[in-house]
Symmetry: C2
DNA sequence: ATCCCGCCATGCTCTCGCGGCATGGCTGGC
DNA sequence: GCCAGCCATGCCGCGAGAGCATGGCGGGAT
């Protein structure tokens, strides 16, 4: 009952002739004759009547033919489905990402991925690093984009980490600011500036880990969204800290300065998968899209990278 | 993608372990490992994640598993169906028979066949020999019970003939008839008796071929049915010719005498199938039932058989 | 009527697939 | 730190299966 034998059987049934079937199958007549004989011995049924001019299905042969075609069709379907998964014309990709990454990096990667592989169902869930790792281990996500401070190496052996970019911290200042022409500034140079914070809580979770503990910015205005924050800066109300990943496009009315590495610990951004678990083709391909999206952001992919050149207008 | 490999694959997926699957399959671990590796090479997909404690299906593995189970189930169904056809728990049997045979012979065979194999769908169609042969060749019947006069040998090479009985012609006479004690009579001894015919037409088709052309019976009464015919005979209205096959049970109130072979050509009754065409198990088995039914009728299965002992009451 | 041709079955040979045996690498638990 | 269990792989032997050749058989053409 091997599919090979069933194919031969189907061909013989279609042609009504062993010799003709052998020709189209590129086999010798004897091989096909033996296959049929073996199938008849295995099933204990006479499948064909041997007529003087070829063969004809018996009732038992017709019975088997239906099953044989169903089996062969299903095997083809299996091959097609696996090929679709491999060729990324089907399947799904579940991405997890930390909040800053969903601003531009991951969406852009998803966009190019989707246009390249429209058949793959995409899902994106935002979360913090511990939760994302949890999802990965539980099998609820295929890949997670997460960040880790360089002094907190996230060396967990359970994950494979693919380095994407370094999340540098930028200082947004008005075009008219005295430091607007600088590429890099030190925190102490901003000691007298008014800072525009996000929410008090967000500022804590986002910046506390990266800024030196002794730096206490003077906070005048709280603006919950990055857009509002940058608007305040552009209006000359103060300066703001903003992770480079959160910048979607080069704002024309303000300057973005890199913070000196000694003042802010660089957080490395990774794509994480579960170690020892096979990367499905979709995940594998998505990492490429993440790489190009990261390169398109113009951020350094390693700590000694070049200057800040925010990404193109979207 | 051989079913063997799919079985191994399913077992490994169920056990989550190559070693455990190998144990239940009575294989060595290495054989199963190779099967999985070969399947992965063939499909171009990684089917399992190798964990430190066994293996776990990947997404592609789950994709294949559904198809594999469907294929294996369908193969089992095919085997079951073929076995059912072979064991006669399913299928159909289409019987054709000439009119006299449907009186007792064929119905009895069908009855015992049905009680032995209730799963087989039976159909019976009555017809004359030429039509029955037509049906056989056209594939509209699986077996045909027909009769042929011994001088018209029906030696067609296209059919396989299985001899069942010889259709002797009986003479029904009242118990009080002067010949009631005889076992065999000559036609000329009945020259003065009144004959009870079936329809004029039936008498022609049925008897003209078997009786000598110069015999002109004196017909007083026409009774269309065998029952009525025999009733008239029992009432003393005359005598009647009746093929032995049409006698369902020994009638207590009349005597059945065999006609001398020289007076009536014996018609041989066969079960015919198409020559060179395989006999399905149902047909093969039905021939046995026909044989026992024929034996149960108590008629000679060859011209030199013993006397008339009509079948048991049904 | 005879010959020939096409069809299917089968004995023989060889090759490759596949299973068993043994070993080696790896990881988690006592 | 050792051991036990799991999986992968080199090696070997057997059997399934394909090709080659032959033979039987029946139908159609000459």
């Amino acid at each position: 009952m091997q599919p090979h034998a069933l194919q031969v059987f189907r061909a013989v049934a279609e042609h009504g002739s062993i010799t003709a079937a052998a020709r189209t199958l590129r086999y010798t007549q004897s091989a096909v004759s033996r296959q049929i004989a073996a199938l008849e011995a295995e099933t204990g049924a006479i499948l064909f009547d041997r007529l003087p001019r070829g063969v004809a299905l018996t009732e038992q042969g017709r019975c088997l033919l239906g099953h044989a075609e169903a089996v062969l069709d299903r095997l083809d379907a299996a091959r097609r489905d696996l090929a679709a998964l491999r060729e990324l014309t089907a399947g799904r990709l579940r991405v997890g990402a930390f909040p800053t990454a969903v601003a531009a990096l991951v969406p852009r990667a998803l966009a190019t991925f989707r246009s390249a592989h429209p058949g793959v169902a995409l899902s994106l869930v935002e979360g913090l690093t511990p939760g994302l790792l949890e999802r990965l281990l539980a099998g609820d996500a295929d890949v997670a984009v997460l960040s880790a401070a360089s002094d907190q190496p996230l060396d967990d052996e359970r994950f494979d980490l693919h380095h994407l970019v370094d999340e540098v911290l930028l200082v947004a200042v008005p075009r008219t600011h005295r430091l607007a022409h600088r590429r890099t500034v030190r925190l102490r140079e901003l000691a007298d500036d008014a800072f525009i914070a996000g929410s008090a809580d967000a500022e804590k979770t986002l910046l506390r880990a990266t800024l030196p503990a002794d730096f206490r910015p003077r906070i005048d205005i709280v603006a919950a969204e990055w857009t509002g924050k940058l608007g305040c800066v552009a209006a000359g109300l103060g300066v703001a800290l903003i992770p480079a990943l959160a910048v979607r496009a080069a704002p024309p009315d303000l300057a973005l300065l890199r913070l000196h590495p000694d003042d802010a610990s660089v957080r490395r951004v990774f794509a994480a998968t579960v170690a020892g678990r096979s990367r499905p083709p979709a995940v594998h391909r998505f990492l490429d899209h993440l790489d190009t999206a990261a390169a398109g952001l113009g951020l350094p992919d390693h700590p000694s990278g070049s200057g800040v050149t925010p990404g193109n207008t979207n």
